[in-house]
Amino acid sequence: MRTIHVDDISIAVKKLCMEACTILGADVLEALKRAQAAEESPIGAEILGRIIENAAIARTENIPLCQDTGMAVLFLEIGQDVHFEGGSLTDAIHEGVRLGYRDGRLRKSVLHPITRVNTGDNTPAVIHMEVVPGDRLKITMAPKGFGSENMSRVTLFPPSAGIQGVKDFVVQRVQESGGNPCPPIVVGVGLGGTFEKAALIAKKALLRPLGGANPDPLLAELEKDLLERINRLGIGPMGLGGRTTALAVHVNAYPTHIASIPCAVNIQCHSSRHREIEL
């Protein structure tokens, strides 16, 4: 049994919030540079250049990459041999978000869905916890902007729709989203499970580093096919035309019911932000 004080979790979450919003991952930067080199549209290439320049300014000036510093989405993988002391784990996570958004001068974008009254500190966060073997704690902070979140969808196909139905749905979703989600996007696809499981694994697919192939050959093939179709749409950087509409398509799959093909598409803007820490 290993003991972790919840105050250490607040401190870690605070740091993750601030870093995630100002430092773009090296994998995303590399993908943007490759796209810029290959982009045929002059405006598209110029936009990609500005996105890369923006990441440099954000890092050196310590200014958020994007004004939409998102709703805080946290994934916790909790070793089953970990014991938490000092208070509520959930409260400690929210406290970390509150401190991170305050001290990092991040935008407070969270409000009541009906009254639209802002909570003032960007809490509550959306927290996903999973118990895993071991005595470690892994925390991933993925601030989610809603220009792209608003473009995401879940649908439940009958089995007769088949993989073709799934592919058409994903491509159609990107087509209809156009410039709204700030392309070049990352497309997270969740296939299978239940209504909510499909959405969750689609979101988790966005956390996978860019540039690597899916270890499952069937899914790797699907990702490659979807990416090619999406980049033939011509939407391009910021929707103004070009070859780079998506940097990657990531698919997660999970067994499902005999009656269905649950399919979730979670769209991520080019500011594909996430930071993790292991305690």
């Binding site: 045929e40 549209s41 405006i43 598209g44 110029e46 936009i47 500005r50 996105i51 320049e53 923006n54 300014i57 954000a58 000036e61 310590n62 200014i63 958020p64 990459l65 994007c66 004004q67 939409d68 510093t69 001068r105 991040l106 935008r107 407070k108 974008s109 639209r116 802002n118 003032g120 902007g145 220009g147 608003n150 156009g178 410039g179 709204n180 989600p181 700030c182 033939r232 749409l233 011509g234 939407i235 391009g236 910021m238 929707g239 103004l240 035309g241 070009g242 070859r243 803007c269 080019h270 500011s271």
Partner: protein
């Protein structure tokens, strides 16, 4: 972008609006206002009730932005454009009441485009997600109205060489249609 861009000064008039065409690169300087979802609802409610707005929109360019808090010594934090379609329900009425320009990202609805053509207004876009870069072109920021809305409050910004692209003009040009059409592969 810089060397071939048209330099324009805000506020705008109809004659200047007519000179702008979809695809033009623009460097905007001068005074603009900000507003997004919540401010648009308030403006619309006031106009529909026949009440005056707490600021004038005549000739103004409105920037759809909800900035992050300003760091010490700076007027504003990250300040990139937000998605414009959410303002489509409100924009035609504001255009009818004198609004001359909008800055956002993403395509506009037919009703907004019709209002733009009828009353003379232009829609610019800048690079979404480039909030840190755009922030450097904003020289002053003051709250004009509705401070209670926090990031959604209406601000007056003084900008210098803000790099924009004309996305939709008064002549029927829409770069969100013509741009992708050029690169679409069947």
């Amino acid at each position: 972008m810089t060397d071939e861009a048209k330099r324009i000064i805000a506020p705008l008039d109809s004659a200047r609006v007519k000179e702008l065409h979809a695809g033009d690169r623009v460097l905007l300087s001068g005074s603009i206002i900000t507003g997004r979802d919540a401010a648009h609802k308030r403006m619309t409610d006031l106009i529909k009730a026949g009440d005056p707005l707490p600021f004038s929109i005549e000739g103004e360019i409105i920037y759809y932005v909800g900035p992050t808090p300003a760091p010490p010594g700076r007027p504003i934090g990250a300040a990139g454009p937000t998605t414009a379609y959410r303002m489509d329900a409100y924009a035609p009425l504001l255009i009818e009441h004198g609004l001359k320009g909008m800055i956002g990202k993403g395509q506009r609805s037919d009703s907004v485009k019709q209002a733009m053509a009828k009353w003379g207004a232009v829609y610019f876009t800048s690079v979404g997600g480039a909030g840190a870069l755009i922030s450097q072109r904003i020289k002053e920021a003051t709250i004009l109205a509705w401070e209670d809305l926090g990031t959604e409050a209406v601000r007056r910004l003084v900008v210098e060489d803000l790099p924009l692209i004309v996305a939709t003009d008064v002549h029927g040009g829409d770069l969100y249609i013509t741009g992708p059409a050029k690169y679409r592969q069947r």
